[in-house]
Symmetry: C2
């Protein structure tokens, strides 16, 4: 990982347009620019580990990462993904607890670490920022509850269809029309909450029934309405 020159200003960062930051004054942006630390992470590297004390929250400038919890027997449960414009790790910072998830890079990522004190400062002094951040948290909480219900009630097949649609909506597709996020079968199983073999069988079932096309890790969705019907959404 490389530490970029601190001069990289947040002004030029695409994330400037992120709804969370739209209420910040120029001075506040300058403060962040000044105190943030920018790092580049290669695929497979860990940004932070479960149990680790956070020094601040991260703002994703580019790349894709996965966020997961480690279950009792060591199996990982992927809780969410994040990409350009998303912020991660703020939950633990605000709760003032050790990180309760691990974050691993899937696609080379540039991350800015914004120190804890600055986050608290912003929340306390800029009500609109606080409100936006709270909205974000509430959105995540709603999604978590919703997915909880799905995992508790839906079959693996329904959940896989749902996850594929989810990934489609969140990450879109590349030039070939495949999902822009490429996961291993094991990672897919760690999102859906099932065994790798089950994912493999279901993927080829979906393929045979014409819902998707497979080329290695690349998944092309052919029949969105069909998948949504399977997923019951």
């Amino acid at each position: 990982m490389t530490v970029l020159p601190a001069s990289t200003s947040c002004d030029f960062c695409l994330n400037r347009s992120h709804f969370l930051f739209r209420h910040l004054s120029d001075t506040e942006i300058r403060n962040i620019s000044f105190s943030k630390i920018t790092e580049t992470f290669k695929r497979g590297s860990i940004v932070y580990h479960e149990g680790q004390r956070m020094k601040g929250f991260y703002c994703l400038q580019s790349g894709i990462i996965k966020i997961y919890k480690t279950g009792f027997d060591g199996k990982e449960q992927i809780v969410r993904f994040a990409q350009s414009g998303d912020i991660i790790g703020y939950r633990s910072v605000i709760s003032n607890e050790p990180a309760c998830t691990t974050t691993e890079v899937l696609k080379e990522a540039v991350l800015c670490l914004v120190p804890t004190e600055l986050l608290f400062e912003l929340i306390k002094t800029n009500g609109n920022f606080a409100l936006e951040l709270m909205k974000l948290t509430c959105k995540e909480l709603g999604e978590a509850n919703s997915y909880l219900t799905d995992i508790a009630q839906k079959t693996v097949k329904e959940r896989l269809a749902e996850v594929l649609m989810h990934l489609y909506n969140e990450f879109g597709f590349d030039q070939e029309g495949s999902l822009a996020i490429a996961l291993t079968r094991e990672e897919l199983s760690n999102v859906v909450g099932t065994a790798t073999e089950s994912i493999i069988r279901l993927l080829s079932e979906f393929k045979n029934e014409g819902f998707i096309e497979l080329k290695g890790r690349k998944i092309k969705i052919l029949d969105k309405p069909g998948l949504m019907k399977i997923a019951n959404i």
Copy 2:
């Protein structure tokens, strides 16, 4: 449901000591006192329905309620419980979305409805309040993620043991030493995410093995360490 005289001041409410409100000034408390609406709900009544627009958030003065999502086939998934001192419904208010859960009263409850505008006002003008509320949200989010992992990875038996310990820690016990919260078998199954029959079988298994004692809906926990071991916590 009875509308109590508005003169019931928040000053005298036990919840005044709730950590969330400790940073409020006397003026702010008076504002809440003035604009809140206090209602009493009997067992079985619905405070708000999934899909409904919220007029504010609720503050539980007394009683116990369950909060659940309704799955595709109509089965309810209990997301959490709340009791005296807890606040509910703020998530949807802040996200400015229709309620994504239904709230039903388990034990006669007195609830205060604090209007939306006042909540936003407080967040924007009182940084410490915003921070406390955010901490609360983050705590809930952490718990949701944690339970997500459990449901995805643990067996029904492990989850039931965990839920029993959870209820014990959250609600304590009554004079007989039984759990202070009495749920039907079906409600228990809607927390654990399983079939009612499975809960019944597992409860009597726990009873036969000496972990618990059963008398109707009253559950007395006899062997905490044993249950925790089963739950893997």
